[in-house]
Symmetry: C2
Subunit: 498 residues, 2 copies
């Protein structure tokens, strides 16, 4: 076994060019050796003279480090006998410890890991990294078109001086100014007549789905989920232990009749009426009435994920289900991720009055209200008219981008894909020949730097033909040709005759 001195010297590396003073480097490294059990309690350290020579340090540097280590109990100085590692650090280091067993996780955690690997076979979280090329990923918008100069002005307005209102724990429901602005906006845009008191700010739609699962469903409760449908929402409900009943989508949206046949007394339905996610169809008026009537008769809840209602390019915009419901069955979920930007992490829930207090109670257990600064800035952005203006510009921009991308895709890949443009949203559906496995295709394309999603990833019963989701919102017209050619090249390299 090495001597204490040998151990000490071999472990210490001082960087004389570092901004950290030498005494502090020495302090940190000796402390680490003691904490990790490399220097054992009771061991005597070499004299400061020896250390000073071996480490090429002044005695004052050594003494500075030792003083701090002694003050904190790592070292003990015994008059006449020298300096020792504190007795309380005396314990067996386990140098030969057996390789650690895999960590014990909850059943929930295990099942989420497997859900994730099942549903996102082709998708890794690293796709969310800013370094990854966006390619045709849906839900990536025209970040470059965001009116950052206005945003900056509003941010600056709110960071002028410290105040308790801005810095302290915010209102649990969310900033009142923002809730008021949202209530006004949804009245105008979605026909929803609610008060600010019924609006709760959340950190995005996904948080809302989790909170609503906790609020409304017991484990094993049955719920209808659109099939194909929102993957992350579905995993949230599955993680909560709910029994997911897949309900098919046709040209009119979710097939209410089929849902009733499959499970008439489901306690909840998750639906995307404005623009079905991911297929893009609009829930018809008669289906809306059927859904509302079923929920009323059955005392079931409707979660209306109103995603992309702002980004409608053609077809008739219907008012929100929430606006049509007279029986307090609908909970409305909106997000700013698409129309402003994702890293803002702001969304909102509009609740029937009776659910506000229970929802806020669960919210307080899970998390607090999002950062006040960003809520205040968003409220001003809405109140001063920038929000409506921005939506209008994005709608025109994305419509033009879709039109261009459809044209270029049809020109180069019309014989391979069958492209369906969408009335709303940020991606189109490219239907593939029946024999192709869309998940394999998406994964292989991703390996070649071309990112799309496979429709099958959104499906439970796989009743539909294979298809890719191709985002258009992040593809400016002048890049369409280049990006589509990259896709063509990748497909050719994979052996497809395109």
């Amino acid at each position: 076994m090495k001597s204490a001195a040998g151990l000490l010297f071999s472990g210490i590396e001082l960087d004389r060019d570092s901004a950290t003073p030498l005494y502090r480097q020495l302090y940190l490294q000796i402390r680490k050796q003691i904490l990790t059990g490399r220097l054992q309690g009771g061991i005597r350290l070499p004299s400061t003279r020896t250390l000073s020579q071996e480490l090429n340090l002044s005695r004052i540097t050594l003494l500075n480090a030792f003083d701090q280590l002694i003050a904190e109990g790592f070292l003990v100085s015994r008059t006449g006998a020298g300096t020792f590692v504190g007795d309380e650090w005396e314990r067996s280091a386990n140098p030969d410890k057996t390789p650690p067993a895999p960590p014990r996780l909850s059943d929930l955690s295990q099942s989420m890991l497997s859900l994730r690997s099942h549903h996102f076979r082709g998708v890794s979280y690293s796709h969310y990294s800013p370094e990854t090329p966006t390619s045709f990923l849906p839900s990536h918008g025209a970040f470059e078109a965001f009116p950052q100069h206005i945003w900056k002005r509003l941010v600056t307005r709110h960071v002028q001086k410290p105040s308790k209102a801005l810095l302290g724990y915010g209102e649990l429901q969310g900033l009142e100014d923002l809730r008021q602005a949202i209530a006004e906006y949804v009245f105008d845009a979605r026909g929803i007549d609610c008060t600010a008191q019924q609006v709760v700010i959340v950190s995005g739609a996904q948080q809302a789905f989790n909170l609503l699962a906790m609020l409304l469903l017991n484990p094993d409760d049955a719920m209808w989920m659109e099939d194909p449908g929102h993957i992350a929402a579905r995993i949230a409900f599955q993680a909560h232990g709910c029994r997911v009943v897949p309900v098919a989508i046709d040209a009119e949206g979710i097939d209410v009749h089929q849902g009733i046949e499959a499970c008439a007394d489901a306690r909840l339905v998750f639906t995307t009426p404005s623009r079905q996610h991911p297929l893009g169809v609009t829930l018809s008026h008669s289906r809306r009435l059927a859904l509302i009537d079923w929920a009323a008769a059955n005392h079931s809840w409707i979660i209306e994920d109103d995603c992309d209602s702002e980004l409608r390019y053609s077809g008739r915009q219907l008012p929100a289900l929430y606006a049509m419901d007279q029986n307090d069955r609908v909970i409305y979920v909106g997000t700013f991720s698409k129309v402003l930007f994702p890293s803002l992490r702001l969304g909102y829930v509009i609740l029937p009055q009776a659910l506000v207090e229970p929802f806020c109670t669960i919210r307080a257990v899970l998390d607090r209200s999002p950062p006040t600064l960003l809520q205040a800035v968003t409220a001003d952005f809405m109140r001063e008219g920038h929000f409506i203006g921005h939506i209008r510009r994005m709608r025109a921009l994305y419509q033009a981008r879709q039109q261009c991308l459809v044209e270029v895709l049809e020109r180069h890949l019309g014989g391979f894909f069958r492209i369906s443009p969408v009335e709303a949203g940020m991606h189109l559906i490219a239907w593939l020949p029946e024999q192709i496995n869309d998940q394999d295709l998406a994964r292989e394309l991703a390996g070649r730097g071309v990112h799309t999603y496979a429709l099958s990833d959104y499906s439970l019963q796989h009743a539909l033909p294979p298809a890719l989701l191709i985002g258009f919102a992040g593809t400016p017209q002048e890049q369409a040709e280049t990006k589509v050619m990259a896709l063509v090249q990748a497909l050719r390299a994979m052996g497809h005759a395109v």
Copy 2:
């Protein structure tokens, strides 16, 4: 029954001074009448001539509103016959509907509502409102001393121009710059040797506790909880269905021996070693070793909530449990709410390597990473040395505030309270005469505008005498006398001889 015209006119109120054009007001109000079933499908509207006279509107205004309503299907124009409410809106309104039954909530939601009302009898969420006087509430700091000018400069730096990195979906684990800065900080300040890869950014410690409950515990798993202890953390574990085993606190911190006697194979312990919450004692060195050894032998997890380690005024600062553990049993939770400000909503978790991927999977289901802007600003604030400087200033400020408040309290209320100053944190404990119910006292004081917390609210087994938690961090020296006198007056008005 009223005629359609009567209904229509009686429901419409136009504001000629509003910024909203009259045609839009009319459109919104007719739409609302149709959506709410007040104007039934199939009903014929009065002629535009009649409407124009009755509402005192120009025909062009009326036609503008009607055009939009017709385009959206709310009205139908039949040549020669007039304008009708669209047939698809024909359905029974339910004017005599029975009063709604209470909403069906999950069992979890019901039990959270009752947990909340039990544990926060004296506390309402409105206390978090910016308008409420802080009084002596713990965890309210010196917001006025926050270096807002530096913060503003760093914020401005990051909102200069739009970029995908800033606006898009951020890194799931949190911004790498911030994770790196945290890894460096905890190495220096807490003796923790970890990589940025082991750090995950969360939206505050409370979110971390929920994620860790989901990650590590099955419903019905037993866990040790400090008693008295962290209320919101306990409710998070209880909400998850865990069996909470209370473990007493003595002068050395959590009583590990008693925990082993009560439940030797608990799967997890939640502890606050740096500054026990709420009593303020520091976990002794020998107890730390005992806790680590128990966890290693039993393959149990330790959640180390390192709250207020930065705010230590006296006594010896021990390194984090995480730094002493050689067996990957400890998960470290830190927050910026206390040392920066609560509405920043940023905290962090440091995990053993094997838990990083499972933790991030659950995190992706529950929520995404907090807003990138605030992570980037916090990273710069740390990297440029402002963080350490701010902590140092706050420590001096709070120490002086505590000293002053203790002195004033002892002068005026020394015969009523027994005050224990604390070595760390933001509140002191005022021990009450045995016969007083601290929850009643805190509630009555709050009714008189003097806000404190009752120690009993933090207790499961109520083994300790009654006491109030009195925050000192938010009380500048020059306000101490006035605030204490308000407390004295309130106590006198309640009949206490002080």
